[in-house]
């Protein structure tokens, strides 16, 4: 528990330590930027005339640091909190030991605090006591001995007898002193020889040195001259190979912090760099206590003047107009009221003259109440900003101004059994194609919702993706079902268009034959069986694993498919004119992750590959990775590229719709979290309306306004417009695909409830 507390304290202390650093850095930028404008300010400051205020600032800064240190030092007691406790218990144990062997004459009682208490016997001042043992000492008292120089005694004892002078031995001493001792005489006898034990000079010297506790060695210098290695002199060669510490050439952060504090003070006007010294007048300060207003106190945060009383009104006049005078009923009412409930504590009265006005008998009480009000009611200055919360919201245009956009369901395309997986509007804007779990591809008339053509592709596999070739000549529909991609010319078009489409698709059959025998191609182009051919299927491309998504290049010659199950060849590019398929990424490691969606850039030779977490942009011309976008989503479900090519929207299964500006950053420019469940599909309008939408498993399609400005400095404007509700959630799946009408602001959605819908 204590350690936990300390870590929290430490982290707080660190945070507090970091915070001012950050802010000071931020502020540090400001004078640099504004340096030219108010250089005078700076020069003022650099002149360094620090007066008392600055000193204050410094000291306050030091206090701050001390506070921080205090916080740091707080850790120690809290950490060591345990140790005194342990000591305490040890003490307690020790006292317990003592209790075990109490002295004979000591009584042990339990004290009021529960602890044992030792009671010692009282000392009686009798002859047996220690005092009586004291020997008699000199009793001459406080008399100098020289007074008795001529007497044989030196004083008198308690009985009046003389105390005789002790033998002095002075004569003997002087005799002995007069005898000259030989050098080195010690007065000791050598036990071996019996002769006198004398010491030599050296030995004596050693003894003396030992007595002085010095080192006995001859010639040892305990204080040699110091070599100044680190001196102010610049040496030719460095003494140490250690690199120069960073602090030598980096401006001190601490100083910067302190300086910034001063700068801030100067900016806020708290510190005046050249404040004239306040003339300390020697005169004592007086003030008029009878003045109406108290002398103005210096403006300070803690000084809040008392609110003024309202001026008296008409009914407080000594002779108020009649209408202010209470009638009997009002008077009675007032008198019956509880004094606390009365709105005023007087009744207006009229007097003929001011001199007739009696004294206000409630004067003392009123003053008292006023005083109570003044010092009992706390006066707080509220630092509440008077800001309208609405004004802080970003200014977004009203959706009404951004019309037209789809608002209601106009047509429901019914017919699919099971989920509708994919929806695609024809480039002419007359037909819409859908593919579903029942293995069929269907084409519908847009407004009436009439199914005009149906192709049963497979009985057991779903059509996961349908898409029209985005060109005006030749109406070709690509549909992915299982591991096959079918290129179809639906027989609903004019004869010429139909023939044109079939010619485009059939043109490459020869190429495919020439390439036979080479290494195994990622996709096998073949003619469909007659049953399918009669329905309009011209070519089928068979790849290894289930194709989940297909997308056309804008020129309609290339088609890219994604089979996430195929680890090695997930992305496959198919060329219609030569009937060839190739995998742009030979190894799985190139894309690092399972590709989810692939799109061609609308104008440049770029390929966008969305893996689960990243979007990689490959330059097909240079055959290299040009950029990696990191949307931050956990599992990307779909991407779409703005028709101008500089922006990208990403839908993810973790409910987020992310807008990437490719020029800005690899991180999303805007994150939109409006869906309750994972996003399945996103789409930009390509026909001139600044609209985009996202569809989700919560059964809704959300329409947004996404305007891009030609001015590169201006960011895109994104306004949520409308939530389109109508699709039912079936088995936790909502709307699986969306597509825009190529020209009108109409939206198609494919739902898991077996319907596709048109919204306009």
């Amino acid at each position: 528990m204590p350690t936990k507390v300390t870590t929290r304290k430490r982290s707080r202390a660190e945070a507090e330590a970091e915070k001012p650093v950050l802010s000071s850095e931020d502020e540090f930028e400001i004078p640099e930027i504004n340096g030219d404008e108010d250089s005078s300010d700076d020069s003022d400051f650099t002149a360094g005339d620090e007066d008392s205020d600055e000193e204050e600032e410094f000291s306050s800064g030091a206090e701050d640091e001390e506070e921080e240190q205090d916080i740091d030092s707080d850790e120690i007691p809290s950490e060591d909190e345990a140790s005194p406790k342990e000591n305490g218990t040890a003490d307690h144990d020790a006292s317990g030991d003592e209790e075990a062997e109490p002295a004979d004459n000591v009584k042990v009682v339990t004290g009021a605090d529960g602890n044992p208490r030792h009671i010692y016997p009282e000392i009686e001042p009798v002859y047996d006591s220690d005092d009586t043992d004291a020997e008699e000492t000199n009793t001459i008292g406080n008399i100098p001995l020289e007074y008795y120089e001529n007497y044989p005694h030196v004083g008198y004892d308690i009985n009046g007898k003389r105390i005789m002078r002790p033998a002095a031995g002075k004569a003997l001493d002087t005799l002995l002193d007069s005898i000259e001792l030989p050098k080195g005489w010690t007065g000791l006898v050598d036990k071996n020889s019996g002769a006198a034990l004398n010491l030599t000079e050296e030995e004596l010297e050693i003894v003396k040195k030992l007595q002085r506790s010095e080192i006995t060695d001859e010639g040892f210098d305990p204080y040699p001259d110091m070599v100044e290695w680190f001196s102010s002199k610049v040496e030719q060669m460095p003494l140490s190979s250690a690199p120069e510490p960073k602090r030598r050439f980096v401006p001190s952060k601490h100083e910067q912090k302190r300086i910034m504090k001063i700068v801030k003070g100067i900016r806020e006007g708290r510190i005046l760099p050249h404040k004239p010294q306040a003339e300390t007048s020697q005169e004592p300060e007086f003030y008029d206590i009878w003045a109406d207003d108290a002398p103005p106190k210096p403006d300070h945060v803690m000084n809040i003047p008392a609110p003024k009383l309202p001026p008296p009104t008409h009914d407080e006049s000594y002779n108020p107009p009649l209408e202010y005078l209470p009638n009997d009923k009002e008077r009675k009412e007032w008198e019956e009221q509880d004094p606390e409930d009365r709105d005023k504590n007087y009744l207006p009265r009229t007097h003929k003259a001011l001199r007739l006005v009696p004294g206000f008998n409630g004067f003392i009480g009123e003053r008292f109440e006023r005083c109570l009000d003044l010092y009992l009611a706390p006066r707080v200055r509220r630092n509440k900003l008077n800001i309208d919360p609405a004004s802080l919201l970003p200014k977004l245009p009203s959706p009404d101004d951004l019309k037209p956009f789809p608002t209601t369901c106009a047509t429901v395309y019914r017919g699919h059994e099971g989920r509708v997986r994919s929806v695609a509007a024809d480039p002419t804007g007359v037909w819409v194609a859908t593919g579903g779990d029942d293995g069929t591809v269907r084409v519908w008339e847009i407004l009436t919702g009439r199914q005009v053509w149906k192709l049963k592709v497979s009985s057991d596999e779903a059509v996961d993706s349908v898409t029209w070739r985005p060109t005006t000549e030749g109406r070709i529909l690509a549909a992915a079902c299982g591991n096959e991609i079918l290129l179809v010319v639906p027989p609903i078009f004019d004869f010429e268009e139909e023939t044109q489409g079939k010619e485009i698709l059939s043109a490459g059959f020869g190429y495919a034959a020439n390439r036979q025998g080479k290494k195994e191609a990622p996709g096998i182009w073949s003619k469909p069986d007659t049953a399918l051919e009669e329905e309009g299927v011209v070519v089928t491309i068979t790849v290894r694993k289930t194709v989940k998504y297909i997308a056309w290049h804008r020129r309609g010659d290339y088609l890219v498919s994604v089979s996430p199950e195929d680890v090695r060849r997930a992305v496959c590019i198919h060329r219609v004119s030569t009937h060839l398929s190739q995998t742009p990424f030979k190894e799985k490691s190139v894309t690092k992750g399972i590709p989810q969606r692939v799109q061609f850039h609308p104008s440049k030779p770029l390929l966008f590959v969305a893996t689960k977490r990243y979007i990689k942009i490959y330059d097909l011309a240079k055959a290299e990775l040009s950029k990696t976008l990191k949307p931050g989503a956990r599992w990307i479900s779909s991407i779409d590229i703005h028709p101008q090519g500089d922006n990208l929207i990403v839908g993810s299964y973790d409910k987020r719709l992310l807008w990437h500006d490719l020029d800005l950053s690899t991180k999303p420019y805007r994150t939109l979290r409006y869906h309750d469940k994972g996003i399945r599909a996103v789409s930009f309008h390509r026909g001139g309306f600044p609209l985009f939408c996202s569809s989700s498993d919560d059964g809704t399609v959300q329409v947004f306004h996404g305007r891009i400005y030609s001015d590169l400095m201006e960011n895109a404007l994104i306004v949520p417009l409308k939530v389109l509700k109508g699709h039912k959630i079936t088995a936790h799946l909502g709307v699986l695909d969306v597509d825009w009408h190529p020209k009108q602001p109409w939206l198609f959605s494919a739902g898991a409830d077996g319907t596709a819908r048109l919204w306009n």
Binding site: P404, A410, L447, G449, R450, E498, E534
Partner: protein, 473 residues
């Protein structure tokens, strides 16, 4: 100024009175301008009795009353309260012949969705021509008998039909059908005199008109010039003549192996003369949704998904004027006596336009009420101010162009200038739901609508007696 005539029915002596100025646009029903003072508790019926009394009609005519472009559905007193008006100010009241609510007469079921409907002229008896999504057209009598059915010449849905010569005008009636398969077929139909047997007459086409590259959305025939025009999703309008000798002969490109295989399952269609158009008008930039002849047979109006209404000169095949609205347009009809065009849009409303060059404004009024695209418009055979609209929301609405007010235009500021109004009556599909694809209205049959529910539904405003008019919207 004449003294206001005081109308004082005995029951309402204690109600305040208001001065009203009665007026009408119908010259046959006009009364001398005379201010009247009437009690404010009067409702439509009371006012109607009053006008009948003033007109001294032998048989009472039911009238409706418009105050400030709105039908009076309450008492005058309540109206004044709602509008916040004072009863001291004179009130301008316009009276119109009451439009009776069309009641449901019956419906005839077919075996597929019905895309279009045309009623023939009443002599000897009206028949209903319908085009179906299964590629056939069918002539139904008013009793529901199928008189004739076309052979499956159209490989895909029929989207539009029109009479050329009505049965009864000559020995042989003829009509045109067109649809998703991009051809227009001319059919001749001889109505048999004797009662029909159980299986209807099979009729075969005589001429095919080939030019369009995409779905033909509408046909319009002008009897005075014997010309017809067709609009298509391929953004073009083609002009044709019923006189085959004027048209160039074309060969049909229907002979590829691909189509042959497809056709093999069905019966081989009869061979027809293939004809090309007199002219192709390419003014639109999006699918043309409808084209109609103007009262002047050399002019035509067309509406398109490109939001424009274009007036074409059929003689020179040039566009005369273009009016661009704000929404894709799906249908159009003329109100010739008022020189107005009504256009139904995909944005769920009907806009009224003045097609004349002199008019400054793009649109004069917006009529709101439909909840889906308005795909079919037909004017009333009886009242020049009334027209009906069929919409994909599964309802047919009847509108009065007089019932528009500028007050309620605030709710749709985006639709530009002009007034707005609401519908007079709403006719729901008797079958419950399903889109309405076509409406036609004739005096003796009534209002006929067809749609996704595979039914021809007939409604008629019957019972000229004392019908309480209810606003069903």
């Amino acid at each position: 100024m004449a003294e206001a005539m005081d109308i004082d029915p005995p029951s309402s002596s204690n109600f305040p009175k208001i001065q009203i100025n009665l007026s009408t646009r119908d010259t046959t029903l006009s009364i001398p301008l005379q201010p009247l003072r009437i009690p404010t508790n009067l409702k439509r019926y009371g006012l109607s009795t009053l006008v009948n009394h003033l007109l001294e009609t032998s048989k009472p005519i039911p009238f409706d009353f418009l105050i400030d472009g709105k039908y009076l559905r309450t008492s005058i007193d309540e109206y004044l309260t709602q509008a916040g008006l004072s009863s001291e100010k004179p009130l301008d009241v316009e009276y119109v012949r009451s439009q009776l609510p069309p009641t449901y007469i019956g419906s005839f079921e077919q075996d597929d969705w019905i895309s279009s409907v045309n009623i023939s002229s009443p002599s000897p008896s009206s028949t209903i021509l319908t085009g179906s999504f299964n590629g056939t057209a069918q002539i139904t009598s008013l009793s529901g008998e199928v008189l004739a059915r076309t052979v499956p010449m159209h490989t895909q849905s029929v989207k539009s039909t029109t009479w050329i010569t009505h049965p009864g005008q000559s020995s042989e009636a003829s009509f045109l059908t067109a649809g998703l398969d991009r051809t227009i077929n001319l059919w001749s139909y001889t109505p048999s005199q004797e009662p029909l047997s159980s299986h209807p007459l099979q009729i075969s086409p005589s001429t095919s008109y080939i030019s369009h590259k995409s779905t033909i959305t509408s046909l319009s025939y002008s009897p005075s010039t014997s010309q017809f025009i067709s609009s298509s999703s391929d953004h073009t309008i083609a002009l044709w003549s019923t006189n085959s000798s004027l048209l160039p002969t074309v060969t049909a490109p229907q002979s590829t192996a691909f189509t042959r295989k497809r056709r093999r399952t069905t019966t081989k269609p009869p061979s027809t003369i293939k004809k090309g158009p007199l002219a192709v008008l390419t003014s639109h930039t999006a699918p043309v949704s409808q084209v109609i002849h103007s009262t002047d047979p050399t002019a035509a109006y067309s509406v398109s998904w490109d939001k424009s209404i274009i007036t074409h000169d059929l003689v020179t095949s040039q566009p005369v004027s273009t009016r661009t609205t704000q929404h894709p347009l799906l249908s159009i009809t003329t109100l010739p006596t008022l020189s107005l065009l009504a256009a139904g849009s995909a944005a769920r409303h009907i806009t009224l336009h003045d097609p004349r060059e002199s008019s400054r404004t793009v649109q004069t009024a917006v009529l709101r009420g439909h909840t889906n695209g308005v795909v079919s418009l037909v004017k009333s055979p009886e009242n020049e101010y009334i027209f009906a609209s069929g919409s994909h929301d599964g309802s047919v609405r009847i509108w009065d162009v007089r019932s528009v007010s500028s007050t309620s235009s605030t709710d749709g500021g985006d639709d530009g200038e002009g007034k707005s109004g609401g519908s007079l009556f709403v006719i729901k599909r008797e079958s419950g739901s399903g889109k309405v694809f076509g409406v036609d209205w004739s005096r003796d049959v009534g209002l006929v609508s067809v749609g996704e529910d595979k039914k021809i539904q007939v409604n008629r405003g019957e019972g000229m007696a004392d019908v309480t008019v209810m606003d069903q919207s």
